[in-house]
Symmetry: C2
């Protein structure tokens, strides 16, 4: 049975203000929680039904994580989901910048930079895509939806346990990287430019993805060394979709970067 | 100013039961509403702020659509959105099956078949993807989320005005098409099979996409003539994303079918 203080603390973590104050976030569901348990994230506590605890006793003991049993109806008081799952974890936020760079501070491989992605579903889905396609790190502008928003965490489907996601000033990052010795190509996703299919795509660089409605801001566009677009197909008298969803565009672009390298 | 009956009628259309009873659905936002006004859909009525009406007077007059002014605060009473937009349309549902087949009843070009897609965002996004990539028609199993659910309508971002979406028995459709003289290839998206990149993709056929968690049902799998999968890239000790979101997978597959044909 949960204490009033536990209910109050966990519920507070739905809000960014308290996530920042306590340096913790919540994750729910068997798959997501077990992936986090098997990752470098530290788990402050697990709140679960007796059935879940019995079924996962050896894992919980092995990891030495404090576990609290929730009675029927109690999960509804702490969950951020419309339909609660049998398990919720309170997880410590941790810095991951060092995973994204080598010992010189240089970027490694292929990276994403997200300029003002606002929709939590898009953000989580993009992290899942990054995981699938072996993207080294995801850099986010400060105006992006926060990584530890419960909707983002859930939409990553566990990929948050593996992909380094770093909030930073993208203009500074791009200025540094494109002006440095290890000159990095910066690809920008636009609705014009060069077709994604009509050029050589490198296995290192930064792919810049813009806001859902406004695209890439002019401030960042000036760092883009190659504008790329995804061609649409066919046409009808009735017109055409004007654009693709930001996460969908990211997926098609990442797949194409990797296509000849599988 | 809206009447009580108008508020009651429009609010009722948030529910499938009343959409089926009245054969109408709602669409909101300038872009979506104007795209529907310029499409074969018949608009029963437009509910908008005086500013929107003034700015769009010639279009509204040209189309001869009944327009009702909403006073400040009234849109909140009829909207299905968290943040209401200045314009809402009540639209007549119409059958579109004839657009998907030629005069012999044969399918045309490349089509999608959705087996039990439940998430409204995925459904709407897939229709937007179909529009972008010139997919001829989207066939949906009866268990898919309903096309005219407000969240689906909004997620199509206007593509609902152009893409024929047909709810039908997929087993019957596939049995008919794969057994017919105009033998149609049926591609199925799986987590195994042939790499999407290691084969010739035709410009006609059906691409079958399965449920978000369970994939393609065995009942439909037997009609699949080519199992395709999207390879993941790289690996780490921490593991890998197990799958991609259904709409993301659809996008990558559609892009690859069209890649050499732009």
């Amino acid at each position: 049975m949960l204490s009033q203080n536990q209910v109050k603390h966990i519920s507070a973590l739905r809000l960014k203000k308290f996530r920042e104050e306590f340096n913790q976030f919540i994750a729910e569901g068997h798959k997501l929680v077990t992936e986090l348990m098997n990752s470098p994230f530290a788990i402050a506590g697990i709140y679960a039904s007796s059935e879940w605890i019995m079924a996962n006793l050896s894992l919980v003991r092995e990891k030495n994580i404090p576990v609290f049993e929730t009675l029927p109806g109690e999960m509804e008081r702490i969950t951020a989901l419309a339909t609660p799952s049998p398990v919720l974890a309170v997880v410590e936020i941790r810095p991951v910048y060092d995973q994204a760079v080598d010992s010189n501070g240089s970027l490694k491989g292929l990276n994403l930079a997200l300029d003002d992605i606002r929709d939590p579903g898009n953000m989580g889905t993009i992290i899942r895509i990054a995981d699938w396609f072996g993207i080294r790190a995801v850099f986010c502008s400060g105006s992006c939806v926060e990584l530890f928003n419960p909707k983002v965490v859930q939409a990553t489907m566990g990929s948050i346990a593996r992909v380094p996601v770093i909030s930073c000033n993208l203009a500074e990052l791009l200025a540094l990287k494109t002006g440095s010795q290890d000159d990095y190509p910066v690809y920008g996703a636009f609705l014009e430019g060069d077709s994604l299919y009509a050029q050589t795509l490198t296995d290192r660089g930064i792919i810049l993805i813009g806001n859902e409605s406004r695209g890439i801001t002019p401030e960042l566009e000036r760092f883009v060394t190659r504008k790329i677009y995804i061609p649409s197909f066919g046409s009808s008298a009735a017109g055409k979709a004007e654009s693709l969803n930001a996460s969908v565009a990211t997926a098609i672009i990442c797949a194409e970067f990797r296509r000849n390298k599988f």
